[in-house]
Symmetry: C2
Subunit: 331 residues, 2 copies
């Protein structure tokens, strides 16, 4: 079923206010959830919302906490997320990086003690909407075996890269496992086989069975040894710059997964005095990429298609979860 | 066979001086080639050197050119590489980024009109040796089909991530194809099958035959659709920030591959006033990563093992190529 975006946004806002979040923050936090569903990422939108409420109830997420700057001068800052709502913290941190990039050309914010940022792409779209290049990543609980081992020791640490463009931003949002946990959950719910192998079953065999992979917590990194190496390196930057937790220190129970470390980098091309370069260069490259044989899309194109349909026809929602969330907002 | 590192360095230096490079620059350029072989990356060390000489002879590489800053204020700069030697240009650009990071916490240099940087890891080790985090990438000629197409339209754009650590830096150096062109060439030369599928043959079938993949120029991106998306996004940042060429504009003949675009980012953790964090956090994470079942290594560990053996027993060289290069330096 489909519901109007504003209805979805209003219901999520009301639910968060009931859960104790202040009105303006509830509206902003709900918007990030609603936008994820609007853009086709329900796994980190409406479908994730009930767990978010449980993590407010179990004390993992502090609805009243905002991040504070604890160190830094110039274009690099370290922030403490104080276990506030992960999407609000990430939005604030990317805003901080954007401000630094406007002043210095490039800026970075390392954020410790935060919660799951939900849809990572949100902060890529945010940067691109502000006219700047955005690069950000988060660590996660351990769910990927490093090359040579069978047990999960690195996270699948999603990485977001965004480039602003007047005719539609380039926004890449990718977990460093072949499939994100959200994608695996969606395949498992539909009882569908993955299009390519996505991890190992409990016996250590590569499989396209999403349920078996979620149970084993042995997700295949992108590019085998390459993805687990990149995930480890990004974890080391996030944890050391923020002085926060590394993946191996994060609780393995997803409902207790907290004190994550994240990095937000923004780059303002306008400080190079050549505003038009990005559009000219990216337009030409997209024209080349999408011409000829095959149905090739640039990163971000599909999001805009889904967003347009959601705004026209309503946002697609899972009926059972929508009922549950409506109940949480009522009375 | 093995030759002492200093012998290798001296012969390469002499050859470059004969090719017209000034003495101090020849020594630095030769050192980067010799270090690549010393560290186990002969594909971008000695084995690549004869082609480098041909690209000086054919006018692609200008031995006399140095990069110049063309735009930028604050922590972000745009440089023109003027088709100088790719490894010297990259070393200078990373030096520039390191200097910016020391002053601003984070710094970036975008470099246009440069040549192949040979071993990308060199600039990661350079940053880490200077005590800073380094992230850099380059675009390449098109050698990877984007998801949904059969013909190569994106590069395999190597990405380097380095974190300084007193007991051995973490340095990741990965092409965004499952195997770099250098690795494919080495497998093909040995007549060995790849350990996992590495690309498509001319008929479009996934294969572990390195020679067939080199012939088709259809390398498999890491993580299928994910790697080609990341390669495109990194290309867009490099080309737009440097105002240089994007992959689709780069000549497809490897001996004419030039005017590449690259990005160098450095981050100085000491500007956060907490010098000890990186070592404490990375040491603990490596201890966790490498403990338990399996022979897990952190990114960079193998390089240090190979380097130690090369310095002890001599650098391993291909006898035929070594003869050829010695001849180029003689007389």
């Amino acid at each position: 079923m489909r519901v109007p975006f504003e209805t979805l946004h209003d219901v999520l806002t009301a639910s968060l206010i009931k859960a104790g979040m202040a009105g303006d923050r509830a509206r902003a936090c709900a918007r990030l959830f609603a936008e994820a569903s609007r853009d086709g990422v329900a796994s980190h939108g409406l479908n994730r919302f009930p767990r978010f409420l449980r993590m407010i109830a179990n004390g993992v997420v502090d609805v009243a906490a905002s991040p504070v700057r604890v160190a830094g001068a110039g274009a690099l800052e370290r922030w403490d997320g104080r276990q506030g709502p992960g999407n609000l913290n990430a939005r604030d941190a990317m805003d901080g990086a954007i401000g630094l990039a406007r002043r210095h050309g490039i800026g970075g914010v390392a954020l410790a003690n935060t919660n799951h940022w939900m849809r990572g792409g949100s902060y890529g779209w945010q940067a691109a909407d502000a006219g700047v290049i955005g690069v950000c990543w988060t660590n996660t609980l351990a769910n990927v075996p490093p090359w040579g081992a069978a047990d999960p020791r690195v996270g699948n640490n999603p990485l977001v890269v965004a480039i602003p463009r007047r005719r539609g931003h380039v926004v890449l949002d990718m977990a460093l496992s072949q499939f994100s946990v959200g994608a695996l959950t969606a395949y498992a719910a539909r009882g569908e086989a993955l299009p390519v192998a996505g991890g190992y079953d409990a016996a250590g065999t590569l499989t396209d069975d999403a349920e078996a992979i979620l149970a084993s917590k042995r997700l295949l990194p992108v590019g085998f040894w390459k993805g687990s190496g990149l995930a480890f390196a990004l974890d080391m930057i996030a944890a050391s710059l923020s002085a926060g937790q590394a993946t191996h220190e994060i609780a393995l129970d997803p409902e207790l997964e907290t004190r994550l470390s994240q990095v937000f980098i923004a780059i303002d091309p306008r400080t190079l005095g050549a505003d038009g370069d990005t559009d000219r260069i990216v337009d030409a490259a997209i024209a080349h990429l999408t011409a000829g044989e095959g149905a090739v899309r640039y990163p971000g194109a599909r999001t805009l298609e889904i967003r347009a349909r959601s705004l026209r026809e309503g946002v697609e929602v899972d009926a059972a979860i929508w009922s549950e969330v409506q109940a949480s907002a009522a009375g």
